[in-house]
């Protein structure tokens, strides 16, 4: 058949139409989105009020901070690294914010301070990883300890946030239509996703991120600025963790060293569920967003059910996760 197409690499238009399927690299993402939709649909059928659009919107409101964390994590994972520090950095950020506001700093200064410190911590971890060859797992685990430690050092007691402007952001709903509303944190999170998607797809930094994940030594030999980008992704992740901390504080207006314990695992899980390969180089930031929503919808399922004991809750979450992951895997099987 193909003998008829004389030159290599060209296929007839008919062939293209006949064999059209979405590019395999988009498949995991498409499958994830489809499964999410399926789950949401199943919930609507099973539980009263589940289909209410506000449930979906609440999913975004509840998880805005996690979306931002997952965005940062996406950068890191795409280079083949990992960042365990983000949960602690969230706690530290809420603590710094609460403390500085308590001390009477102005809100913008406090926010900038939080973002700067978080980015700085990320950068330092990146430097350790790139220039001293310390494995990302360890460097960021040290970051986890450090950030949590700083949070405790600021105060072991939680500090409420009373700043008026901040509380206004926290309380004021943005009405979308009729009675449906979101919060500012959702807007920020979606902007973060959009910016990240742009950066990853259309900037040299973003493409270098993928190149490093594909093959770091090749990327280096191609003359790409591997060092800058590798340090950069941890800085980005640090920044996102700081921003995530601010959003977390919008949701729970307080500083607390016990916040966000283990949240790094949620962020990693979200990214991976969204089709981002842990070995690096493959995946899209939108996947991270969908991954967060999947984790959220699993939680919502459980809460709507409302009859499970603590242990059945965990088992149910595990089972739903399993079902999701297995279906996702089977549907993307032919990829590898």
């Amino acid at each position: 058949m193909s003998a008829a197409t004389a030159t290599l690499g060209t296929t007839s238009l008919w062939d293209k139409v006949r064999t059209y399927s979405p590019p395999p690299r988009f498949l995991p993402l498409i499958v994830t989105i489809a499964l999410f939709a399926g789950m949401f649909g199943a919930g609507s059928v099973r539980y009263e009020n589940f289909g209410d659009p506000q449930v979906f919107l609440s999913l975004m409101i509840n998880n805005a901070h996690l979306i931002v964390l997952a965005v940062g994590m996406t950068f890191v994972i795409l280079t083949g690294g990992i960042d365990l520090s983000v949960g602690s950095v969230v706690a530290m950020s809420t603590m710094i914010l609460a403390k500085t506001l308590e001390k009477g700093w102005s809100l913008p200064v406090a926010i900038v301070t939080v973002l700067l410190i978080a980015t700085l911590l990320g950068t330092v971890m990146g430097l350790l990883i790139h220039y001293f060859d310390i494995q990302p797992f360890i460097a960021t685990l040290a970051g986890l300890f450090l950030a949590r430690g700083v949070a405790y050092l600021i105060s072991i007691e939680s500090i409420p946030i009373a700043n008026e402007t901040f509380m206004k952001w926290a309380y004021e709903p943005i009405t979308l239509w009729s009675t449906y509303w979101i919060r500012w944190s959702v807007v920020v999170a979606l902007i973060a996703v959009a910016v990240a998607a742009y950066v990853l797809a259309f900037t040299r930094f973003g493409r270098t991120v993928y190149a490093i994940g594909g093959n770091e030594s090749s990327a280096m030999l191609m003359g790409l600025r591997v060092g800058v980008v590798k340090v950069g992704v941890y800085a980005v992740s640090g920044f996102c963790a700081g921003l995530g901390g601010l959003l977390f504080a919008l949701n729970t207006p307080s500083g607390n060293s016990l916040h966000a314990v283990g949240m790094e695992l949620d962020a990693i899980a979200a990214a991976v569920i969204g089709g981002i390969l842990l070995t690096g180089g493959r995946g899209y930031v939108v996947g991270a967003l969908v991954g967060v929503l999947v984790l959220g919808v699993i939680q919502t399922f459980i809460i709507f059910d409302g009859t499970l004991t603590s242990w059945w809750t965990r088992i149910a979450i595990g089972v739903l996760l399993l079902v999701f992951v297995v279906i996702q895997r089977l549907m993307t099987r032919r990829q590898t």
């Binding site: 310390i134 430690g149 695992l265 991976v272 088992i315 595990g318």
Partner: protein, 346 residues
């Protein structure tokens, strides 16, 4: 040998011992007494002292890290080990409580056998997801990490189950020939693993699969079986760890038993010189790594660090150790002498 990758972890470990010794000596001198960190005395017919405690307390982390080492060598990771440990403890304790004669030796043996059998099943499960279905290890084991603790609580009905069985409790607190049983078990497993991997071809095959899975497959290596096996082994080790932790307090709290032990274990593995990217692994390194982590935990109360500074102390120590270990960091301290093949890792 100066080039040995084990050198720096060992140095770091010794450094911690020195810190402890100084802190204790200073502390006691302040009260006009003397004490030596490394002191070991005989008490009730067995050894007693700081380092004995450390050896004993490091057993669970060592066991978990041991299994983790092999899993990591195949480019995998197992997040579920903490949950598996909890399940092992839960199964053993509930079987004991339910046994006809709770204090009997056979009851303890039966309970432990049951627990370990369950762990092997769980290992098979993890291995199935990773090796057969091809799910990324972190996700595959995340499932059991989340659900496993639920299962453990299901087994114990959410209660802290307390048991009274001397044989069982000897797993953690007993002594044989003056040496703690827990350490003997852990070291025994390390030896078994070392023999299995280094006296047979298993180690080499594991490394090959971890370094280049596709090339290994084309060379006829049964990557699937190997990966499956290491997850089962990892779960078995985690189960043993769970039994020891449960025996240590003669009780099981399904919610907290082995909580975050996977992080400690991975840390131990990496400090021991096994890279998370898979491939070459060092069991001796893992041993040192596990000892290091336990000593670190012991150092904190010894040095009198307030609870809120624990984490800072840990962060500093971990970074310091890793810098010591990093050839690049050491090269930066020295004059540039050798070419550093930059692209050489990956």
């Amino acid at each position: 040998m100066l080039a040995s990758p084990l050198l720096w972890p060992v140095v770091a470990l010794l450094l911690l011992v020195v810190i402890n010794t100084l802190a204790l000596a200073f502390d006691f001198a302040g009260r006009g007494e003397t004490s030596f960190f490394l002191n070991v005395r005989i008490q009730d017919g067995h050894l007693y002292g700081n380092i004995i405690d450390i050896a004993r307390n490091s057993a669970p982390v060592l066991l978990v890290a041991l299994g983790m080492t092999l899993i990591i060598a195949t480019r995998g990771i197992d997040l579920s080990v903490g949950a598996i440990a909890a399940i092992a403890g839960a199964v053993a304790c509930t079987r004991l409580v339910g046994a006809a004669d709770e204090g009997a030796v056979t009851a303890a043996i039966m309970a432990c056998t049951w627990a370990l059998a369950v762990c092997v099943l769980l290992g098979l499960w993890n291995g199935f997801l990773v090796a057969v279905l091809g799910i990324q290890p972190i996700l595959a084991t995340l499932v059991l990490m989340v659900a496993g603790r639920g299962l453990a609580m299901l087994v114990t009905d959410g209660q802290i189950t307390t048991v009274h069985n001397d044989t069982f409790s000897d797993l953690a607190t007993g002594f044989v020939l003056g040496l703690p049983v827990a350490s003997l078990i852990a070291v025994g497993m390390v030896v078994v693993a070392a023999v299995l991997t280094r006296r047979t071809a298993l180690g080499m095959l594991i490394e090959a699969v971890g370094i280049n899975p596709e090339a290994s497959r084309l060379a006829g290596v049964r990557a699937r079986t190997i990966i499956w096996t290491v997850y089962v082994f990892g779960a078995f080790c985690a189960g043993l760890a769970g039994l020891i932790i449960a025996a240590n307090t003669n009780s099981v709290n399904a919610n907290s038993l082995g909580l975050w032990i996977e992080l400690d274990a991975i840390l131990a593995v990496v400090i021991g010189g096994t890279a998370l990217t898979g491939g070459r692994f060092s069991l001796a390194g893992t041993l040192v790594g596990a000892l290091f982590i336990t000593t670190l935990a012991r150092t904190i109360p010894n040095v009198g660090i307030p609870s809120e500074a624990n984490y800072l102390f840990k962060a500093v120590v971990v970074v310091a150790v890793c810098l010591l270990q990093s050839p690049r960091a050491r090269a930066a301290l020295r004059v540039r002498r050798r070419p550093v093949p930059k692209g050489a890792h990956s």
